[in-house]
Symmetry: C2
Subunit: 141 residues, 2 copies
């Protein structure tokens, strides 16, 4: 018996889920398979739901939302905040920044080594820095 490419993707996803303490349910495996098959991706709950549905897989939108949050908590994804009305998730959890094309809702990675932010003042009072996010807003033309 020969394993298909699809099975292999599923196996990798299953392994990855297990490693992060998540039960490899059918839905999670499918979603992980799509998210982590190729290189870095940026998705919203809807875009991912459309994609998975388009592939003929049945997963409810609510489950996509839940799964994205579980993956984020597990460190498999990172949330990117660039838009007041949409929630983006990034499969690249490392140190990096983004171009954002507002009109198209398009995110483009900027490698973390590329950008340097200098002169950030010490935060007031009892506050400590969690992360520095840079969003380079761009437009066509």
């Amino acid at each position: 018996m020969v394993k298909s490419a699809r099975d292999s993707v599923a196996d990798q996803a299953t392994l990855r889920l297990r490693q992060h303490g998540l039960r490899p349910t059918r839905q999670r495996v499918e979603l992980a398979g799509i998210l982590f098959r190729d290189c870095d991706r940026h998705v919203t709950a809807e875009s991912l739901h459309d994609e998975v549905s388009g592939a003929g897989v049945k997963v409810s939108l609510a489950t996509v939302y839940n799964t994205l949050h579980q993956f984020t908590e597990a460190g498999l994804l990172r949330q990117v905040i660039v838009d007041a009305s949409r929630c983006y998730f990034d499969t690249n959890t490392g140190n990096h920044q983004h171009f954002f094309v507002e009109k198209e809702g398009l995110l483009i990675d900027i490698p973390g080594e590329a950008i340097e932010v200098a002169g950030v003042p010490a935060p007031p009072d009892g506050l400590s820095v969690d992360r520095v996010d840079v969003v380079v807003r761009v437009r066509r033309g």
Copy 2:
């Protein structure tokens, strides 16, 4: 007849609105009075509505939303995107950045001269840079 401090605030607001091509209606004057009386402020539609309502002035929430957008278009305010579920407006429209205390929904200005972002790559294709936003996410402790 002597003018009260409140009248003077209102007069300034009226003037500012006129200068920006906005009719000084009662509601706009009240909102502008609150927004631009003191130094830099960060508000959401709700926080501003609460504030103006608390001061005994009647303005509908819808009008607050509309007004905030009109003020933004007129260049009196600037939108700050730091949270996927709330829309912040900043009375400081100049070049500057922000600390953001997520838990408290608190924004703190960082002067534009303080921070320098180096190494931003040229954007791909036919894209041109609009603005570079830096959000320093901080927390208590």
